[in-house]
Amino acid sequence: MKRIDHSEASSKFIKATDHLDFHDKRLWDLRQKRDRESGALPEWEALRSLASAIKEHTLTHLSQYLEEFERNAVKNGATVHWATDAAEHNQVVYDILRSRGARTLVKAKSMLTDECEMRPFLTNRGIEVMETDLGERIQQLDDEPPSHIVVPAVHKLRGDVARVFADTLGTDRKNSDVHYLAESQRRHTRPYFLKADAGMTGANFAVAETGSVVVCTNEGNADLSVHLPNLYIACIGIEKIIPRIEHLGVFVRMLSRSALGSPITQLTSHFRAPRKGTQMHIVLVDNGRAERLGMADFWYSLKCIRCGACMNTCPVYRRSGGLSYGATYSGPIGVIIDPTFNLRKYSALPFASTLNGSCTHVCPVKINIHEQIYKWREVIAARHQLPFVKQEAMRVAGKVLSSPKLYRAAVETTGAGIEHLPRFMMYNKLNAWGRQREVPTAPPYTFRQWYLKNRADRGKK
C-alpha cells in the first residue's frame, strides 16, 4: 500500500493561502478559548489527573467493565452485539437494518463509523445514509472524509460550502451567507428525520454501571436521530467505557472545554433504553483496540476522548489540514493511532511533527502524545520503513558524528566550501532547506578552532 506523503499534501494546502489563514486562525481561536475555559477552573490540572487515572483504571480492567456494560444494557432492553473488526461491524449494522427492512438511516457524527468505512458499505447495499451533523453532512455531500474529529469541515470556507450546496442541494451558487446555507441544509435534512427507518449515533461515553450511551452534541441532530425512528443503533469503540455515572462529571466538564472552549455541549444525552415498541441495538467494536491495549508504549492512546484539543493546538496540523494525513484520525492523536492500522501506509505521519509537546499538555486525559510520536519513529526505523534517503542520511550522520576526526573534517571545511558555491547550486530543488530559507553563512573558523587559538593553555583537556 502506498505511503501517505504528508509533506507533499501539506504543500498543496499551504498554497491556498486564504484557506490556510482561516484554518490556522479558526483553530488557534479554539485553542485560546480552551485556555480561557480551562484556566477559569482552578482544579483543571487535578481534573486532568483524575480523568487520566479513571481511564487508566478502566483500560486495565476493560473486559470486566465491558461485560458489566453489556449486562446492564441488556437489562435495560437493548440488544448488544460485538464486532471484532470494521468488516464485522459493518455487517452487523447491515444485518440489523435488513432484518427490520430499513432503507434509510439518519446518523449523528461518529468517527468510528468513518474508521470502519461504514457509509460506502451500506450505500452499496441500497441503504440511504444521511449524515445529520452539519459539518459531516457538508463533507458527505462533497464526497470527502472529515478533516477534523470535532469540526469536520473546518478546512472549508463558506464559499466552498456554497459551491457544494449549489452542486448537491441546488442552492444559490452566489449566496454564501452562513444563515442561508445553514437554513438550506436544515430544510433539506429535516424531512429525513421523519422518513428514516433507523437512527444511529456513536458514543462519547458508555457507562458500565447503567448500561447507558452518552452522546454530547451541539446541534440536536443526535437526539432527533435517536428519538424519531423506531430503530436506534449505537456504534461504540470498546475504549469508550467508563465505570460509573459519577465519572461522567469529570469527563463532561473537560470535553467541550478542551474541544471548543465552551463550558459544556448544548446537549448531553443519555440513551438508556428503547422506547416502547422500538428497538435499541449497541455494537461494541474492537477493530484493533485490544491489540493496541497490549502495546507497552502505545496503550495510553486509548484514553483519548476525541476532543480534538491536540489538533487545535498543533502548529503542523493547523498548517497542513486534516486531509493531508490521509487517515480517519489526523493531527497528533492520528499520528499515534494510525500506524496501528497500517504501519507502512502511515509511516511518514510520526515525522509530521516537531515534537514540540503542546499536544501532550492540552490533552485532558494526559496522553503523552509527543513521547509516543518519538517512540513510533523508533518502531518505524526498526521495521525498516524509513525512506531510503533518510535512512542513509542517518547512517552517514551516525558515522561522522561518532568520529571526532570525520566530524572535524566535515565542519572545518564546509565553511570554505559553501562560501565559494554559486547561489544556484545552493538554492535548488535538492536542497530542501534553501527552497524558502537562506542557508546560514559559515564563519571563517569553528568554535573549536577559536578555542585552540584563544585558550591554548587549556587546550590539553
Binding site: 497542513s320 516537531t354 526505523a381 524509513l386 550522520a397 551516525g398 561518532s402 524558502q436 573549536r448 583537556k461
Partner: protein, 247 residues
C-alpha cells in the same frame, strides 16, 4: 566546581560566537570551564529520526567526553533535553546516568545552579522578542507554558530583565513552535518554512528588533526565514546578551 562546556555541532560549525559568549559568560561567573576537544554531537539528529542504532556510537562518545565533570553545560535546550531524556540507545551504566543527570542548559545552569541574577557588564538597548524553544519551554520547563494554567515564571526573562536598557516585544503567539524540529525542517519543508515565516512575522509585527533565544537551532531556521522574507530582524543567543554583546 568543574564544568564541561558542550558546544553543539551546529553552533560549533555555524555560530562560534555563541560558543565563545557561553564560555566567556561562565568564566566571568567564576566557573572553571573545560572544553573536551573530542566532542561532536549529543546524538539527537539520529535519535529524533528513530535511528537508535545509528545514535549509539555518538552517544557513547558524548559520555566518554563528558564523564567525570560536576556539570555539563550547553547553550542549547534541545540538546540538553536529548541528553537528559533520550540518550538511551546505549546501556545505562553508572557513568551514562551520571552524565545525563549532570547536563544543564545554560539558562537553567545560571539561574538554578549558579543562582546569578546580576550582569553588571551587560547592556542591550534594543527591543527583543524572546523565543523559548519547545524543549526549553515544555521539556526543561524554563518558563510557564500557555497550555497549563499555572503561575507565570520565566527563567530566561528573569536573567534578561537584569540587562540594562533592554525592552521586550510581546508577540501574539509567544510559545508556538517555530517549525525547526531538526530533520523536520528538511523532510517537512513546506510546513516548517510556513511556521518559520509566521513566527518571525509575529515578532516583527510586535516591534522586535532582535529575536533572542537559548536555542540557536530555532534561530538558525528563523534567520533563514526572515532573510528570505526580507524582514529587518536580527537574531542573537541569550548567552551573547548576558555576556555583554551590545549589538
Amino acid at each position: 566546581m568543574k564544568a564541561a562546556l558542550f558546544v553543539p555541532c551546529y553552533v560549533d560549525a555555524f555560530f562560534p560566537e555563541v560558543g565563545i559568549a557561553t564560555l566567556e559568560l561562565l568564566e566571568r561567573l567564576g566557573v572553571d570551564v573545560a572544553y573536551p576537544l573530542d566532542q561532536t554531537c549529543c546524538g539527537q539528529p539520529m535519535g529524533n529520526s528513530g535511528c537508535r542504532d545509528d545514535a549509539k556510537a555518538t552517544e557513547a562518545l558524548f559520555v566518554k567526553n563528558f564523564g567525570g565533570f560536576d556539570y555539563v553545560v550547553s547553550p542549547s535546550g534541545s540538546c540538553t533535553h536529548h541528553v537528559r531524556e533520550h540518550l538511551t540507545s546505549i546501556p545505562q551504566t553508572k557513568a551514562v546516568k551520571q552524565v545525563r543527570e549532570r547536563t544543564y542548559e545554560l539558562v537553567e545552569f545560571v539561574h538554578d545552579v549558579l543562582n546569578v541574577r546580576e550582569f553588571p557588564w551587560a547592556e542591550f538597548p534594543h527591543t527583543v522578542g524572546l523565543h523559548n524553544g519547545c524543549a526549553s519551554l515544555r521539556a526543561l520547563r524554563t518558563a510557564k507554558m500557555s497550555e497549563i494554567a499555572e503561575p507565570a515564571f520565566s527563567k530566561p526573562l528573569d536573567l534578561l530583565s537584569k540587562v540594562r536598557g533592554i525592552r521586550f516585544a510581546k508577540p501574539a503567539r509567544p510559545d508556538e513552535c517555530c517549525g525547526f524540529g531538526g530533520t523536520f525542517s528538511v523532510f517537512e519543508e513546506p510546513v516548517s518554512a510556513k511556521m518559520g515565516y509566521d513566527k518571525v512575522s509575529d515578532h516583527h509585527k510586535a516591534g522586535a528588533e532582535y529575536i533572542v533565544s537559548a536555542d540557536m537551532s530555532c534561530l538558525m531556521h528563523q534567520k533563514g526565514c526572515a532573510e528570505r522574507l526580507g524582514l529587518p530582524i536580527k537574531f542573537i543567543h541569550i548567552a551573547q546578551i548576558l555576556n555583554g554583546t551590545r549589538e
